[in-house]
């Protein structure tokens, strides 16, 4: 902790201590620090009672809107935006830098449309890069970074839960393939399918060697990574740590602390311990609790009729092949830390027992439709799978010059369409103003559906757009 300033702040401000893991802090107006919660990670174990979950979510909501200051530890003069702790060769002077960051005062500065946790306009675009070579770029040239629009975070808890279950399914299939190969002393080819989504095939040899050439849409380790436009981050927690550092210079202890980096103040801003695991958990709980966007019928009967026609066209053109209307989710128990993270992000293996945020306690989750097996039907209109989305005739989505995490430039994860009616503009760069434009920009694996849409009479195209306009953000 930055001892002098914390002592001064604490002397000015009374704090309200509660019995649970969350403490809310009331700060005096002149207090330069902005973080107004403290969370005891040690108390976050097992299924949280509703009161504690509510407090934790509220703490996360507060943090999400906090305008971090230098007194909180914002800024990273000696650290780049890289996920792996990386030093600049020379300390940076500027607090904010539009291209390579830090580029935001708070999470809500971008995630605000139509409310906190939402998406952002083109003005809120960010520039992602590996952050090692040429980390300190000061322009938007695509040779340095990939420009990305700001997505909404609603329903992201369900997304992560789906990804975890799909990962288990796929990895179990891999294990079964190896087991069968060993038992039969012959190679075994296994189709990789989970929740109706096909990820290709793998072939296992009796000695455990894997031929993964047939795998598609998922990383070779069969971990479904549902976050970011390219689907390269496995968890809200990891994404949160990345964003805290890149956008705000708030370096979480679990990645940038002394135990991981050998340095107590990795970013050289004079702060030690600037973002505890408990605060990260609060942000994760908040994001995971954000309500799933639902289809909202039009009150206008004509529009609703058109939307229903459009929904049929959505399936008939093949859009629903990737933008799958719903995926079944077996459990609403959200473990945090989760099972899929590795060193640098707290994982379930790093704690005695993870906390469980029972999303089933949330009113909106209780209203989600279920199938005959009792699975929650998550209406994401996506498949958590990566696809090649551009080709020579339809090159718009292949605009980037840099791959990301080994994913090719023309491959992206299927965008979830829930909430699309309220989160223009569209595309990974947020540079397409209408739904019609973004549909027509599809290529690659989607070219047949795109062409089918383009071939529709105008009325039917309008119906399909009208249907998409029912996919509203929570009001």
């Amino acid at each position: 902790m930055y001892r002098y300033k914390w002592a001064f702040a604490l002397a000015l401000v009374p704090s309200v201590a509660l019995a649970g893991p969350v403490t809310f802090i009331e700060r005096a107006p002149a207090d330069p620090a902005a973080i107004s919660v403290a969370v005891d990670q040690g108390q976050l174990q097992g299924t949280l009672p509703q009161a504690d979950l509510t407090d934790l979510i509220e703490a996360g909501r507060s943090l999400f809107a906090t305008r971090f200051t230098g007194a909180d530890g914002a800024g990273r003069p000696r650290a780049t935006q890289a996920i792996i702790p990386t030093h600049f060769k020379h300390a940076r002077e500027m607090s904010f830098q539009r291209a390579s960051g830090p580029d935001a005062n708070s999470c809500t500065s971008c995630h605000l449309d139509p409310m906190a946790g939402g998406a952002g306009d083109f003005t809120t675009n960010v520039f992602t890069s590996e952050g090692t070579e040429s980390a300190d770029f000061d322009n938007v040239d695509p040779q340095f970074s990939n420009e990305r629009g700001t997505n909404h975070l609603f329903g992201s808890g369900l997304i992560e839960l789906l990804a975890r279950e799909m990962t288990v399914d796929l990895q179990d299939l891999r294990t079964e393939a190896v087991r069968q190969a060993r038992e039969t002393s012959a190679p075994v080819t296994m189709t990789l399918e989970s929740k109706g989504i096909n990820f290709g095939t793998l072939t296992a040899a009796p000695d455990g060697q894997l031929d993964m050439a047939g795998v598609s849409g998922v990383d070779i380790d069969l971990k479904v990574r549902p976050f970011s436009q390219k689907g390269v981050f496995p968890s809200l927690r990891m994404f949160t740590l990345n964003a805290l550092n890149a956008h705000h210079g708030m370096e979480a202890d679990e990645r940038f602390g002394a135990a991981m980096t050998g340095e107590a103040d990795f970013d050289g801003d004079g702060f030690v311990g600037e973002f505890s695991p408990g605060l990260v958990s609060a942000l994760v709980a908040y994001q995971a609790s954000l309500q799933a966007p639902l289809q909202t019928p039009f009150e206008n009967p004509a529009w609703q009729s058109a939307a229903m026609e459009g929904e049929m066209a959505f399936t008939a053109t093949g859009c629903a092949t990737c933008h799958v209307p719903s995926l079944p989710l077996r459990s609403l128990s959200f473990a945090d830390p989760g099972p899929l993270d590795t060193a640098g992000t707290l994982s379930a293996s790093d704690v005695a027992a993870p906390a469980i945020y029972d999303l089933g306690l949330l009113e909106w989750a209780q209203k989600l439709p279920r199938n005959a097996d009792g699975d929650v039907l998550v209406p994401l209109f996506g498949d958590l799978k990566r696809h090649v989305i551009a080709d020579n005739k339809n090159p718009h989505f292949a605009n980037e010059l840099m791959g990301q995490s080994f994913v090719a430039r023309d491959a992206f994860m299927t965008s979830e369409l829930w909430g699309v009616a309220d989160t223009a503009p569209f595309g990974h760069r947020g540079d397409l103003m209408t739904l019609d434009e973004v549909i027509l920009a599809h290529g690659g694996d989607a070219v047949q559906s795109r062409d089918a849409y383009a071939a529709l009479p105008q009325t039917e195209r309008d119906n399909l757009i009208t249907f998409l306009k029912t996919l509203r953000m929570p009001q």
Partner: protein
């Protein structure tokens, strides 16, 4: 050392202990200390290195995969006890477990083994075993399914009658079979033995282009200075591997450390004063190699009685001169006396090996320790060292915290991931006691253990002989850091490891690896995901992933 000097040094050590303890504690607070749990007995290994004077030295073993299941089995020397083979039956990610198997040797020949190295000599994709013995050395040809047959006759290997204590192997350019170097200790039959009567060492180069090795071409590496470890090493980035030999000053007269120039088609020649080689006399027990600063030039740890040397090339800008600076003191790697217990006399170091035990991306240094036998001027309680490398390149002792500080007299050691969980385990061969088999549990917490950093385990498959790519260099890129690893057969103390190369990755979850194959050619960049076992087959487009299941 006279009594007054001894008392003064003890007094100084006693005075300085509290300050060192605080600094060490502070330094360890910034490192992830791996926790080891000893489980040789429960794992089913009962093997002790026994014997008299001839077996004060040696005591090695090797890990390798003798049945093709991808798990590392072990062959262990026994001295006057029979050498033993143990097949690995550990559950993936679980407790370590081994079952004894038959080496296929009559008991007379299974005894008097000082060290064992595994390598695929005849390019049939089965590891063979070289048994260093007091008397005739034995080479066992691997047949698969953990079966072996003697190969000396078929391969024209003269096992000799020497007291063999060291071994190294290297594939010279264009050769399908390796060049074998045997290091010998005292010539017991020479007048005046043992003092000043070190035996010569030998180089066996494969002859012809036949389908089976022919080692009838033997060169003598003379003078020998009672070698205890040898290593083929590309010490100057020339692409040519010289032969480094560490020698025991206990018995030589006029001896020193040695570096041989071994050029293809030419007789081996010693580097001498005129070449820049400097005189260094130590009780050389083991050599470990690592490129600690990723400049392509290896550093060497040399164990001895007293302090360990950590040699770095004097002038990296001109790597033609084999002059070295000892950096052990400034790096905190001297390990000159026990770090725990009441004994403050100088240590005796044996096996040394660089490996990343906590997966933070920095290679650490393990040293097996133990009194030679009744040497009163040296520490009796002399626990093995685990020196963890910090961000600043300095090493910090963690053996006590890590749980490897046992009351044993260590000799050789095998560092390998026995249960394929990505954490390096440790098997130490002990004199007159069962081996210590340490399972790496990760970082200890109040509730159990938590994971360390990310990792990758890389197996190489070359073509046309040298099936495991011995001599290859791996260059792994993680963010702004590059790490070099070299595959070799030799070094340590009578001990080796054949199989996958373990690389700790710190926080990296995916990376790039390039391979410089033994013939000097570089591969393209291979992408890999962390926490996986991968195979790089020469000229293959992508890495191959391997899944281990229970």
């Amino acid at each position: 050392m006279n009594r007054l000097a001894l008392m003064l040094s003890l007094a100084l050590a006693a005075f300085s202990v509290p300050a060192l303890a605080d600094e060490r504690a502070d330094a360890l607070g910034l490192l992830a200390v791996p926790q080891f749990v000893e489980q040789a007995a429960s794992a089913g290994i009962t093997q002790s290195y026994t014997g008299g004077w001839e077996f004060f030295v040696g005591g090695g073993g090797s890990s390798f995969d003798c049945n093709g299941d991808g798990m590392s089995d072990v062959a262990l020397a026994g001295g006057t006890s029979a050498a033993a083979l143990y097949v690995n039956t550990s559950k993936v990610g679980g407790e370590l477990a081994f079952e004894p198997a038959d080496l296929g040797l009559e008991e007379r020949l299974a005894r008097n083994v000082l060290g064992i190295y595994a390598l695929d000599i005849d390019a049939d994709e089965h590891d063979d075993l070289v048994l260093l013995r007091l008397g005739e050395n034995i080479v066992l040809r691997g047949l698969g399914e953990c079966r072996f047959e003697r190969a000396e006759r078929a391969w024209h290997i003269d096992g000799g009658t020497s007291w063999s204590t060291a071994f190294a192997a290297n594939w010279e350019p264009g050769k399908r079979f390796p060049t074998l170097a045997f290091g010998n200790y005292v010539d017991r039959t020479a007048p005046g033995a043992p003092w000043g009567t070190c035996a010569d060492n030998f180089l066996m180069r494969p002859r012809g282009d036949g389908d089976t090795p022919d080692y009838s071409d033997i060169s003598t590496l003379s003078p020998g200075h009672c070698s205890l470890s040898m290593l083929f090493t590309d010490w100057n980035r020339s692409g040519e591997r010289g032969l480094r030999i560490t020698n025991d000053r206990q018995y030589y007269r006029g001896g020193e450390e040695q570096l041989w120039r071994v050029e293809t088609g030419r007789a081996p020649r010693l580097y001498r004063r005129g070449d820049g080689w400097e005189h260094l006399t130590i009780w050389g027990m083991g050599i470990a190699e690592a490129d600690l600063n990723s400049d392509g030039l290896p550093e060497y740890a040399l164990t001895s009685m007293g302090d360990t040397k950590l040699q770095s090339l004097d002038n990296p800008a001109d790597p033609s001169v084999p002059q070295y600076t000892d950096t052990a003191f400034e790096r905190g790697a001297t390990a000159q006396q026990p770090y725990m217990g009441p004994d403050k006399l100088p240590s005796t170091g044996w096996h040394a090996e660089f490996a990343d035990f906590n997966n933070d991306g920095r290679e650490d240094l393990f040293i097996a320790k133990g009194n030679v036998e009744g040497m009163q001027d040296f520490a009796s309680f002399d626990p093995d060292n685990l020196l963890l490398q910090g961000v600043d390149g300095k090493f910090v002792e963690s053996g006590d915290m890590a749980g490897i500080g046992q009351e044993t007299s260590g000799r050789g050691a095998i560092v390998d991931d026995f249960n394929r969980d990505g954490l390096l385990d440790l098997l130490v061969i002990n004199r007159k006691a069962n081996v210590s088999l340490f399972r790496n549990m990760g970082r200890q917490t109040e509730w159990g253990h938590r994971p360390l950093g990310n990792w990758v385990e890389i197996s190489l498959e070359d073509q046309d002989g040298n099936t495991h790519g011995v001599g290859a260099r791996l260059l792994v890129k993680t963010g702004t850091v590059s790490m070099n690893r070299t595959v070799h057969v030799g070094g340590g103390h009578a001990s080796g490891q054949s199989g996958a190369v373990h690389v700790g990755l710190g926080l990296l979850d995916r990376g790039i690896v390039r391979v410089q194959w033994p013939d000097g050619s570089w591969s393209h960049d291979y992408r890999f995901l962390a926490n996986q076992h991968i195979i790089i087959r020469r000229d293959a487009k992508d890495v191959i992933y391997r899944q281990f299941i229970e």
